[in-house]
Each structure stands twice: as C-alpha cells, then as structure tokens.
C-alpha cells in the first residue's frame, strides 16, 4: 500500500556578483612643448593630485569604487567603476511523494533542487542587473566630479608649458595671471 510523504528541500546559492562600467577619453593637451615635456608636466600635476605611478607607466588614483587611470604619454584617461558583492539566496520547497525511500524520492528531490536553483539563480541575476546599474550611476557621479578636476589639470599644464616655452624664447619679464578669466599674459624679452 502506498502512502504519501512530504519531501522538503532547502537550497542555498552563494555567488560573487560584480557590476562594472568604464569609459575612456583623451585629454586635449596643446602641443606647446615636445610630447615628452608635456607628458612630464602632466605627470607632475597628477602626482600632486594623488595619482600614483603604475608599472606600465600610467598613473592611477582610486576614489572609492572608482579608479581613474591616466597615461601621461598620450593623455588617455580611463575611468572605471566596479562594485562587487557576495550574495546568498535561500529557498525552500515542499512537495508530496508516494514513497519516502528509494530512487523515486531521489528523483523528486533532485527535480525540486534544480527548480529551486533555477529560481535562486534568476534572483541573483536580477541583483546583478541592479548592481550593474549601481556601477553605472557611480561612474556617472565620478565623471561629474572628475570633469572640473581634469579641466583644471589641463589648464595648469598648459599654463606651465607656456611659461617654459616663453623662458626658452627669451627672458621672462612679467607674468600676469587672471584667475577670474583664466587668461595669462607673459612678457618676454627676446
């Protein structure tokens, strides 16, 4: 005589999920001095702003979840935001079977386990999408903050390059800078 038994399956899925986004652009540096000299000026300015030398010659700074990498040789800027998290999802399901032992029970358990795993995997995928959006939002915020800083860096490097160029041309007699308008006047005696 067959009897119904209740089978309960509990499943836990743990996965590390990552959301990342990155953009690349190039700083518009005027060719006032040689590329090497412009690169050196940029390197010094970046160093003053907390960028550290990397083994590949680039300079990088990490701001929270975002990382800014600048290649002083060609002005290439890469901004990357990465967010990762370990998520654990749990699911339980109960069902009735007619035998509580033997291959049938295992089949039922296996089927339910697979169903739960599929559901949990879908849940984690949805979290992954949210994390991805979070990384994108983080990158957008980082870009908003970085934009004025990069403009300032380019301005400063350009001003410094102009001073050096003027010094190469003759003796600098006077330098007048207007921080309001950003204009700079250099008087040179040639």
């Amino acid at each position: 005589m067959s009897r119904a038994y209740r089978i309960s399956v509990k499943e836990t899925v743990t996965r590390k999920i990552t959301g990342s986004d990155e953009i690349s652009t190039r700083l518009e540096l005027l060719e006032i001095l040689t590329p090497e000299a412009m690169g050196e000026l940029l390197r010094r300015e970046l160093e003053a702003r907390g960028f550290k030398d990397q083994t590949d010659g680039s300079m990088a700074r990490t701001d929270g979840d975002a990382r800014v990498v600048v290649d002083p040789c060609n002005g290439q800027v890469t901004v990357k935001a990465e967010v990762d998290r370990e998520v654990t999802e749990q699911g339980t399901r109960e069902t009735a079977a007619w035998d509580d032992i033997g291959p049938k029970r295992h089949e039922v358990e296996q089927r339910i386990r697979e169903q739960i795993q599929k559901e949990l995997s879908q849940k984690i995928d949805r979290q992954q999408e949210k994390l991805q959006q979070k990384a994108t939002e983080k990158l957008e915020r980082e870009l908003d903050e970085l934009q004025p800083e990069l403009s300032e860096i380019v301005n400063k490097v350009t001003r410094e390059a102009l001073k050096q160029k003027a010094a190469q041309m003759g003796t600098i007699q006077e330098i007048a800078e207007d921080p309001q308008t950003g204009s700079m006047t250099i008087k040179v005696e040639v």
Partner: protein
C-alpha cells in the same frame, strides 16, 4: 502593318514575369507579393517565350532604372583619371557601361516564384559567379522586397544580399545580424568594370537616401536599432572609403560628402540632432550608451577623411600627374563647404566626449 500577337506563357511563367516587373516597379505590391509568399511547383524548364521576355525585361528595366536614377543628368566624373562632363553615355565608353547577366537572376526568379520566401523548402544558391549587372539586379530585388513585412529576415540571411556591396551602400543596418561580428563585403570590385558607371548613375539616389537616413536617426527611439545602424555604417565606411581612395575614384564617394553637408547646413545644430529621440535607458552601461551615441554620428566621423582628401588634392601641383583629377574633389569639397562641415563635425563629435576638457 500587322501588330505582333502577345507571346504565350504558362501560369508559372506568368507569375514569374509579374514578380520581375514588380521588382522594376511596374506592378503593384498586391499583384506580386502574394505570389512571392506562395508555393508553387516549378516546371522542369521555361519556354523560349518566357526566357526572351525575362531577358527583355531585365535589360530594358535596368537601363531605364539607371537612366532615371541619374544617368540622364549632365554631370562630371573621372574617366581614366580625367574629369569628363556630360550624360552617362557621353562620359563612359560603351565597354564600361554594358549589362551582362549570368544565369543567376533567372534561376533566382524561378526559385522566388516557386518557393515561399518566408519558409523555403530549399535555399537558393548562385550557380555561377555574379556579373556586375547581377549585383545591381540583386540589390534591386533586396531594395524592393525589404520593406514587405516578414521578408527582411529571410532576405538578409541570404549571402547573395549580405555580400552585395550595393545592398550595403544603401542599407548597412540590415546586415548587422550579430553586433559582435559585423563585416562589410569587399568594395574593391565596385571600382572595376561597369560598376563605376552604375555608381555614377546612383549618386543622386544615394545622396537622397543618406540624407533621409540621417534624418530618420533623429527620430529613432530604440537604442538597439541605433546601435545596429551605427555599427553597420561604420563597417561600410571602413571598407568603402579606403576602396574608393585606393581606386582613385573619390568622386564616387561624393554622395556621402553631399549628404553630410546637407545635414549639417540645414538640420543639425549640435550632436543632439542624431540622438535626441533615444529613450532614457538605465539598463545600458554608460560605456555602451556613449559608444552607441558616437556611432550614431558615423557620417560626421568621415568628415576627417573628406578633409584629408582635400588636403591631398591641394598638394598636387599644376604640372603634376593627376592634377585635373585632384581638382575635382577639391571643387566638390569647396562647393559642399567642406571646411565648415569638417569643423562642425569635429565639434559635434567632441560634444559626445564623456570628459570634455
């Protein structure tokens, strides 16, 4: 004088001729499309009457099409390295404007009439290499049928269309089946044999087509469609423009300069013109969004190439070889306000840079 009596053809042959005439715009959709979507048994062979009618329709249809498309216009193009003015039959020697068809168009028409295009029982494949006129014919087939509901997908999956340079010149987006691997066909063949004469005839049509296409972009709301369009166009330009330059026929790429010039002079005031209708989409990464937006401006991206050709043409001295040819692009560039177009294209592209400094 007695009028020649109409030629007699079978029912199948009649349907085949209806489809052919529809492809040349001489029959209405409702007469031909049901025949394309229906299945019928093909006869073992066609009658002489039918074959003669197909030949007649093909040669008259294509010549009439090319003449109407632009061959009738008095224009100026390069011919053997020298600018020549006149209508197509004045500019191009007969040897370079001949239509020679292989058996491919006829075998395709038999297949098209007998098979249901949406679910064919067997695929069509070319029996012989395509001739120049074949390429033009198959582009016409594609251009005519692609707008019919349900036909675009089966058509673009066929290599006869996806490897046809004319199909790419007009509708590159249609062939972006997988955004990861977009490859345009070889365009070198377009600058050999009779193809340049065909391209000369098609310049006006191509210019109008590209202007309309750029204007449609400004109304596009779907990111995925815009992505495919951008990728298709970039793939096209990457192969077409170098091929034109290599063949010394930059004059055959002038439709792109003219289209860009029209758009920038009369439509676009900023990069926003191309991307203004794209719906807000938070699910896309910022990098993807920027890439799609930049590719949407695929045509302004080519302004640099046009400007480079102009700079090169200015370096050719009066006594140098190729002076007259170089002047043709220079004149074209000036008449399109190329310097202004180039500067504004650059400005628009900079507007899309994520970190403008």
């Amino acid at each position: 004088m007695t009028a020649e009596s109409p030629k007699t053809v079978s029912r199948f042959e009649h349907d085949l001729l209806v489809i052919l005439r529809y492809l040349f715009g001489n029959m209405a959709n409702r007469q031909a499309v049901p025949l394309i979507l229906a299945h019928q048994q093909a006869p073992p062979c066609l009658s002489r009457n039918c074959v003669e009618l197909v030949k007649d329709t093909l040669k008259k249809g294509l010549i009439l099409f090319l003449t109407r498309a632009g061959g009738w216009q008095t224009d100026r193009f390069l011919s053997q390295g020298e600018p020549v003015a006149g209508r197509i039959w004045d500019r191009v020697p007969l040897d370079y404007r001949q239509l020679t068809f292989s058996s491919n168009p006829l075998s395709f028409l038999i297949w098209l009439t007998s098979e249901k295009l949406t679910t064919p029982s067997e695929r069509w494949s070319a029996q012989t290499p395509f001739t120049e006129a074949d390429r033009l014919f198959f582009w016409l087939v594609f251009d005519r049928l692609r707008t019919e509901p349900d036909l675009l997908d089966p058509l673009r999956a066929m290599s006869v269309f996806s490897s046809n340079p004319y199909c790419w010149l007009f509708n590159p987006r249609d062939f972006v089946l997988n955004p990861e691997t977009v490859t345009a066909p070889d365009f070198d063949e377009l600058f050999q044999g009779s193809h340049p004469a065909f391209l000369e005839c098609l310049q006006t049509l191509l210019t109008c087509h590209w202007i309309a296409s750029e204007r449609r972009k400004s109304m596009r709301i779907d990111w995925s469609t815009m992505k495919n369009q951008g990728l298709g166009e970039i793939a096209l330009f990457t192969r077409f423009l170098p091929a034109a330059e290599k063949a010394g026929r930059t004059d055959l790429a002038r439709f792109l300069l003219r289209a860009l010039s029209t758009i920038i002079r009369y439509d676009a005031t900023s990069a926003d013109f191309w991307i203004r209708s794209l719906s807000p989409n938070q699910s896309l990464r910022l990098s993807e969004r920027i890439s799609i937006q930049q590719n949407a401006l695929s045509l302004p991206q080519q302004a640099e190439t046009f400007a480079r050709w102009d700079r090169q043409s200015r370096t050719v001295g009066y006594f140098d070889e190729g002076y007259a040819a170089s002047q043709l692009w220079k004149e074209e560039f000036e008449s399109c306000e190329g310097a202004l177009i180039s500067a504004r294209s650059k400005e628009f592209l900079q507007q899309l840079e994520p970190l403008r400094t």
